[in-house]
């Protein structure tokens, strides 16, 4: 295992690999940070180039772009409250409030540092635990993946910004929207009204751009001013990027826990890192000394999900290459590119071609380091975007949103959907229906349904109780939900006794 890891590292010293990796990182950072063009869009745009060059160069280009978009997505959430992909939704909870308080540079610095450290921890842990991880991956099945999806939904209840009822309704709305199109098991068409466009369902990036980018632009247009609330003033002592870097080291325990979470959840095929970031955020809330600060601009709320994202990618390569099951939407694009480049996923990859697998892991680590360095060096300048006047940001965000949405599949219907959800997103924000909960519901809806259907068919109606791991996961979720209530009641009893 160690030998394979070292062989993989040596492959990085190939100049071609290094150059294309740098190009990929530059592309990912540039595109990922633009509202409506992050995440999967950036990967889709670079895919045609990646498959035309030499295989090792193509792999380095794609993986570098992938890492660049991770930081770009997170930065876009932090600066504009527009998640470029599902996994960056969580950064809107605390990253954007930090920007509004004038701490955008600190948030970006924390984001860049935690992503790098998370990536390194993930790569090292992966090297040491790969044999065990393979056994776990093979042991888990659809019932466990179903519970993972439910775990992701349970975060909605753990963190509800505003009315819990409205948050749950928003999640229900998101779940229903995810069901538009074909049923994943029976292929029954649902809520399509005979429209061929709706038969494929609504794409998450299209809905997310409308829900967040368009509605945010509308809010800014109504409110006036800039993203940063300049009336609140800036405390320069807490808003520097290096403060963000220091925050990561001050919260090293959180970084390690979140990285472990990201690595292991990333290794589970088909789950994706959306669940990982939500789970990391939830555990950050519950283990924090100041949980009341979450949702209002807590740097821990930025550190936890970013460390998860950094570690997640190494783990996500395992099911993608080992079983051909992508760990998320960007892994799906990577997988298709790998096949074109002559890399056939399968058990042979994890048993006989480990040096190639580890060279990819090390590319991810080095790309992470490069991205983090660029991120830290540019954070102060990037944070100034929040001070740009609204009349500069608004037209750019709106036009990029519609153009980026159109570019996904060249369909004008996507633009219509984007605008409609822009209006809906504005109204949801106005009346305290959490858009983040909607997005979480939409991302997890089909995943949960698919695994539940397969579990019912394969293991029967009582699958939750007949499979020990699934049952234990259910207990864990219930404890996660009930613990805050018990803890609160206990504190009230103590306060009453003292009083």
């Amino acid at each position: 295992m160690l030998e394979a890891s070292v062989q993989g590292l040596v492959a990085l010293f190939n100049p071609t690999v290094a150059i294309y990796m740098v190009l990929g990182v530059a592309w990912g950072l540039t595109i990922g940070i633009l509202p409506a063009l992050g995440g999967i869009t950036a990967m889709v745009l670079i895919l045609p180039f990646a498959v035309q060059v030499a295989p090792e160069a193509g792999i380095a280009l794609l993986l570098g772009a992938h890492i660049g978009t991770i930081y770009g997505d997170a930065a876009c959430s932090i600066l504009f409250k527009v998640p470029g992909s599902g996994k960056a939704i969580v950064h809107c909870f605390d990253g954007y409030p930090m920007t509004q308080k004038g701490e955008g540079a600190r948030a970006l610095g924390a984001c860049a540092s935690s992503a790098f450290i998370g990536g390194v921890i993930g790569a090292i842990t992966l090297t040491l635990t790969l044999p065990f991880m393979r056994a776990v991956m093979l042991a888990l099945g659809p019932p466990e993946y179903f519970m993972m999806g439910v775990w992701g939904l349970s975060v909605i209840a753990v963190f509800a910004d505003g009315s819990v009822l409205k948050g749950l309704v928003a999640a229900g709305f998101g779940l229903m929207v995810s069901f538009i199109g074909q049923d994943p098991v029976t292929a029954t068409l649902r809520y399509t009204f005979g429209n061929t466009y709706l038969m494929d369902g609504l794409e998450f990036p299209v809905v997310a751009v409308g829900l967040f980018a368009i509605s945010q632009a509308m809010t800014l247009h109504i409110r006036g001013g800039s993203i940063m609330d300049s009336e609140k003033g800036i405390d320069l002592g807490t808003s520097s990027v290096w403060q963000g870097v220091r925050d990561v080291f001050d919260n090293w325990g959180l970084v390690v826990r979140s990285s472990m979470l990201g690595l292991w959840i990333g290794a589970l095929p088909g789950i994706g890192n959306v669940v990982g970031t939500m789970a990391a955020y939830g555990q950050a809330v519950q283990t924090s000394k100041h949980p009341e600060r979450f949702g209002k601009g807590s740097v821990e709320g930025v550190i936890a999900p970013t460390a998860t994202m950094g570690a997640n990618e190494g783990g996500a390569l395992m099911p993608t290459l080992g079983f051909g099951i992508p760990g998320g939407e960007t892994m799906a694009i990577l997988l298709s590119a790998f096949i074109v480049l002559g890399i056939a996923p399968g058990r042979d990859m994890l048993e006989n071609r480990l040096p190639l697998v580890f060279s990819m892991v090390w590319i991810l680590v080095v790309a992470n380091m490069l991205t983090s360095t660029v991120g830290i060096l540019t954070a102060s300048q990037l944070a100034k975007v929040a001070k740009l006047p609204g009349h500069t940001i608004i037209p750019l965000v709106l036009t990029i949103s519609l153009a980026g949405t159109y570019s996904l599949s060249g369909s004008i219907e996507d633009v219509v959907v984007c605008v409609v959800f822009g209006f809906i997103g504005y109204l949801m924000e106005k009346f305290d229906f959490s858009r983040a909960d909607f997005a979480i519901g939409m991302v997890l809806g089909l995943l949960i349904e698919r695994y539940m259907q397969v579990s019912l068919t394969t293991y029967g109606d009582m699958f939750i109780f007949t499979r020990p791991v699934t049952f234990l996961m259910l207990i864990g979720i219930l404890i996660t939900l009930v613990w805050p209530i018990v803890n609160s009641a206990r504190k009230k009893r103590i306060a009453a006794k003292v009083g």
Binding site: L168, M176, H221, H391, V419, Y426, I485
Partner: protein, 174 residues
């Protein structure tokens, strides 16, 4: 119209949406296809009805919840009748009305649909900078031309995306 009334109307609209989902779900042929959507829509309807009841008939019960004290009722943040929230307060420079915001997005969409992506981008940015930003024409032209050129290079040259040419061109000039 007060914010509470608007809130109620939005909740009722969502209620009808979920009822619509329930109706359409019952029309599906396959029981498996109904298995998950039906309970989710049903639960959402119950939650919405509870929300409407609490916010209209039990205003003493506060609905906003702290992230730690799950389900524990915290201090009031629902604005009373007549109060103006941060969300709606228009005390900043260059603030505009809600209707204006909806109209801006609608105009952009109309331009995109009728004229095409690139033409709409150019005209919209130019118009917004001049009308709302009060910028000089040369500055506005620079921003709109630069952005349009960037879009053209990125989308229509780099990846050879076929541009949406606009309904007018497709209908009358194709």
């Amino acid at each position: 119209m007060s914010k509470r009334t608007q809130d109620n109307l939005f909740c009722v609209a969502l209620l009808f949406l979920f009822l619509g989902f329930v109706y359409l779900t019952f029309q599906l042929g396959s029981p498996r296809a109904k298995l998950v959507p039906l309970p989710i829509a049903g639960v959402s309807i119950v939650l919405l009805l509870l929300q409407l009841y609490l916010q209209n008939f039990r205003p003493d019960i506060k609905l906003n919840v702290d992230s730690v004290d799950l389900f524990r009722i915290s201090e009031d943040t629902i604005e009373a009748e007549g109060e103006v929230s941060d969300f709606t307060r228009k005390t900043r420079k260059n603030a505009h009305s809600e209707a204006n915001a909806f109209a801006v997005v609608a105009v952009l969409f109309a331009l995109v649909f009728l004229l095409g992506i690139l033409e709409a981008t150019f005209l919209f940015i130019l118009g917004y900078f001049v009308l709302y930003g009060k910028e000089k024409i040369p500055v506005s032209l620079a921003w709109s031309a630069g952005t349009t050129a960037a879009f053209y290079g990125m989308f229509f040259q780099l990846i050879n995306l076929k541009p949406w040419e606009g309904w007018i061109r497709l209908t009358f000039f194709s």
